[in-house]
Symmetry: C2
Subunit: 374 residues, 2 copies
Amino acid sequence: MTQSIQAKTSPQGATQYLHYEQPFRFANGGELPRLDMAYETWGQLNAERSNAILILTGLSPSAHVASSAADPKDGWWEPMVGPGKPIDTDRYFVICVNSLGSCKGSTGPASINPVTGKPYRLSFPELMIQDIASSSLLVLESLGIDQLRAVVGPSMGGMSGLALLKLKPGVARHFLAISTAARAEPFAISIRSLQREMVVRDPAWNDGAYTEQEWPETGMRLARKLGMISYRSEPEWRERFGRSVQDHYEERLFGMHFNIESYLESAARKFIRNFDPSCYLYLSQAIDFFDISNGYEDMASAFAGIRLESAKIIGVETDFLWPVHQQKQIAEMLVANGIQSSFELLPSIQGHDSFLVDYDRFCPVVADYFAHIR
Amino acid sequence: MTQSIQAKTSPQGATQYLHYEQPFRFANGGELPRLDMAYETWGQLNAERSNAILILTGLSPSAHVASSAADPKDGWWEPMVGPGKPIDTDRYFVICVNSLGSCKGSTGPASINPVTGKPYRLSFPELMIQDIASSSLLVLESLGIDQLRAVVGPSMGGMSGLALLKLKPGVARHFLAISTAARAEPFAISIRSLQREMVVRDPAWNDGAYTEQEWPETGMRLARKLGMISYRSEPEWRERFGRSVQDHYEERLFGMHFNIESYLESAARKFIRNFDPSCYLYLSQAIDFFDISNGYEDMASAFAGIRLESAKIIGVETDFLWPVHQQKQIAEMLVANGIQSSFELLPSIQGHDSFLVDYDRFCPVVADYFAHIR
């Protein structure tokens, strides 16, 4: 409880901004008078404006997917994006957008409401995955990009990608979906719902009126630990930690004894105070609300409006939060819609997080896909 | 936060007690001046005292495994135990013991320390699974039972069963282990550790000095919900709840929207205030501390001292808290030790809890085992 790092809401370096000075209407009602959208780009847009790739992110990452001259810090997908890398910035103009509702530069519940001079917090409109898609489209429009070579979406980013493909059919020629889903299902909902409850039941949450001094650190710590549990896997931890005993933290009654416990504590300490609790709740809830088949007779009807030249869907055997049958479903629905699609199941043992750590398996598959699309 | 049901620490009806008026030494140090052990029995002990079956329980159940004339309420394993049922009380004298450290009649952290007149709480000695076994053995001795026909242990009860078989080799002729493990492994430890942290970080926990008025209800609620998540499975909830929307509880911001969320809330409300937080923490930690191979070169050496005529090990495909490889390990170790053992993997979709709900699959397997042992 001794940390006091400020929530990082002002990225610098390579971050660019779209200052959208018009009202933005949310899919489920409500609007904001204006928006900032933070993004980064790598590589050069060609003369035909036809080599752009948009990366949409999971719940927590910023737009800093890879290092660049302007920001040499490693990005969250450093081995995947760069010159000569699987998403090759020598060939492609790569854009990564910080999601609407996040706290890494784009407007979100932690942003200052220009009308009141105070953070939006719970006055922020209800956020849907569709809003993340439509606000990302504004960035593309501001860059003069009418059609993407590809949209890439891991985790929540795959949901945002699907929503984008529905919002503007033909906006991308190719689609790479990784460890994602066409809708939230109840087991994953139960985990995210419990994480949200951990935060809102922390007395310091104070119905969203938390301060720098009275901040729901306990709720965010518990939620992050449950996040880590749901992002990794039983076999990985058995192999990596076994029953080894920790010596990082002081032993106390019902405290940490095993290395797996100190690992989770360290992971939590890195996250809390680096992510705004309101933003976390809005984004987490947006995932649970997402069902691309909402308003359609069935999943196939929802996919019928999607236009693509090809799609690649990657899933991971040990991912129990975004389970394999959900990636298979996306592939099947796309194939049924006449889109050339392939589904690849990777035997990575790091669960949902595999795309962020098992580069030995992920890089060749992603490189192969981008080597073959035109 | 409006419930005020008293923790049920005084079972009645069919509950019998061993009042053990001697010091009880704990495996990891510490002792109590005396113990109460609560248990129930069904059926008749034969003249040879050779038809006794001992059931050791999971973390939370009482000794009331089945109804009887003295206590006609359904027990926690009602379809499994009774006249003509798989564990047939017309043939066997069945004993179920409430675990040492619990709060359902046996001495535990919620019991009154006769020296101080106050609950033990955190002054209770560190509890190990071995203590649950050795205190259960006191009950058998008080009943004049030198050897059991069988010991039956689901979940934590299987750990207690293994500890009992080590403590007194030959104490049981047969062993039925269900959805259990020979040691705690890091994925399950991470979940139980987070549950304990939920409780101890609740301000009302107050380092164990909680009162009826200031009680760690939030911590226990969150812990129970995570328990339910870890006890069931993704496929069950997908089939049972899908994305159906709840109407049990008032909708509020970041509150419950889906049926899966109201299901967890209802389950939590049933549990909290019915289980003492200190007892919960002691028992949960005892599971994590358990490794039957502690002090041995390897698992095989630990099993070498076990004497049995046969064993049956049952696991469930969808159990990710007590995963299948752990039941396989028990079976393999027993076979390597020359004990006739069979392992059966059931395709139940209810995860770890399957033995409590999927009676269509469990009853025939258990009945078959007991029909063949002599």
